[in-house]
């Protein structure tokens, strides 16, 4: 059994107790998306303000959840602020790779193929690396990825055009 210290690293607890970028942004102009973890009832709202060059001018996080989902959201907000949309997408991909979330599909002859998404060594995860221990607690991976899925959703909607209200189950 893994020890709790693998999961609840000090930096995680710090982000949980003192969440960064907590609050709301006027929407519009900011984009807003909600994510739910249907297993535990956690909810996260991501507000994203992109400037005309596609750089994250501001980001705010609202909602409620456990220490893992809240600290992950807090770290995410700190990590994407000032980044371009494509850098933010790279971060999402790198974070999910760290969470060992891989693509599963069936091959032509029915064998399951797991495409391991290798972490991109050029993407600097910084504090986010503290969440690596979550992988040893599989039930909590969804907590850690909730805000990232919601960020991906907000980016998708921004790319799709004019804002519209949205709600989805993040998973």
């Amino acid at each position: 059994m893994s020890g709790l210290e693998d999961l609840y690293r000090e930096i995680i607890l710090d982000h949980y107790r003192n969440p960064r970028n907590r609050g709301e942004l006027p929407s519009p102009p900011a984009r807003r998306a909600e994510g739910f973890n249907p297993l535990c009832g956690d909810e996260v709202v991501v507000y994203l303000d992109l400037d005309e060059d596609g750089i994250v001018r501001d980001v705010k996080i609202d909602g409620q959840g456990c220490s893992i989902s809240q600290s992950s959201a807090s770290m995410m907000s700190a990590a994407v602020k000032g980044k371009t949309v494509s850098e933010a997408r790279e971060l999402i991909r790198a974070f999910k790779a760290m969470m060992s979330i891989h693509e599963h599909r069936l091959d032509g002859d029915g064998t399951e193929v797991v495409e391991v998404v290798a972490p991109d060594p050029t993407v600097e995860l910084g504090d986010l690396g503290a969440l690596r221990g979550v992988v040893k607690f599989p039930v909590r991976i969804k907590c850690a990825t909730l805000s990232w899925n919601t960020l991906a959703q907000v980016l998708d909607e921004a790319a799709a055009g004019p804002e519209r209200p949205s709600e989805r189950e993040a998973g």
């Binding site: 020890g3 709790l4 949980y16 297993l39 535990c40 009832g41 956690d42 909590r140």
Partner: protein, 422 residues
Amino acid sequence: MAPERPSEPMTAVATPIDGATVKKDFPIFRRDTPLVYLDSAATSQKPQAMLDAMERYYESTNANVHRGVYAIAEEATAEYEGVRRKVARFIGAPSERSVVFTKNTTEAVNLVAHSWARTHLRAGDAVLLTEMEHHANIVPWLMLREERGIELRYVPIGDDGKLILDDLDELLDGVSLFGFTAMSNVLGTLNPVRHLCDAAHAAGAVVLVDGAQYVPHLTTDVSELGCDFLAFSGHKMCGPTGIGVLWAREELLDAMPAFLGGGEMIRDVRLDGWLPNDIPWKFEAGTPPIAEAVGLGAAIDYLKGLGMPAVREHEMALTEYALRSLQERHGDDIRIFGPPVASDRGGVISFDYKGIHPHDVSQVLDQAGICVRAGHHCAKPLMRRLGVGATARASFYVYNDPSDVDALSESLGAASDLFLPA
């Protein structure tokens, strides 16, 4: 009409249950690491006698039911139908014809929503539920609302976790069906089933009772409860997963159209038509969960051996001990949801501890081998009503004893040390 106390038939004084002794009947407690299992409201642990019965069935009797004329097929059919009689006796049903085997409580509720409700309900007809229902007794009705345009109403709950019944007669006015849980899976609240059934019948409504949390823990007699439909699951009462029960009054079942189509549920099939089988088989399409029925029968024997009045006494004493000791030790740091008095509730205690998220509380407790549920317990409308996203929930059964409560109480401090250091 004043609400009556939750119906609780009393019989002869029962031999008290000793949780530590009962634990020896459940092999899971022989694990190398300590196991403090406080999640029986999700699923109960399984006694050796039940596991043996299923294994014996597969090893010595296995055959499909209601088909072959050879010896083991007849034995399998006799065992399967024997459990139906056993279930009928266990819930005080006048006849085993009124006992339909389903997959679980959820399927039993869906059977009512599909077969009875789609026959009787039209746009504008009303169904009354309560704010404390499990999703299993909300979503099938929301689906029917989308499909048929029925109206849904909800009995509200008060801050004490009990239904507010002041306006019950107005809420029931014009209602076709009243569906409610006999015992809340979150709050533990025991609802006044008989009173609610009488009020519903006076208003011309039929009553569906979700007995998932009630039947495993209290003596159940459908004629005393007064309901028309009763749904429950085997796996919460020492039985296996994959089998549940819908009991219904025979005349209702007789008039209801079949639910799923296939083998077993027919009397005759031609290329251009079919005739349904008699009840209850009309509602049991395909090969049923035979071994699971055998397991359920053994689970009922096991519970009867303990005595259902003794089961209730044991859990009420444990709940009383837990309410008292948790509050004594943790004071205002713990907020316990639901009725404050143990006699008003079953062995389910949902709580908030110092505002620490239930996921985190549960993770810390897991380090000490303590299993509690953390989440919304498939009752999101109730969570919204309580103003929380989730709760931690400890629930008791026959194998729990005060030492399990003490372990929970003790370990809560560790959560506080981690998340709220002084």
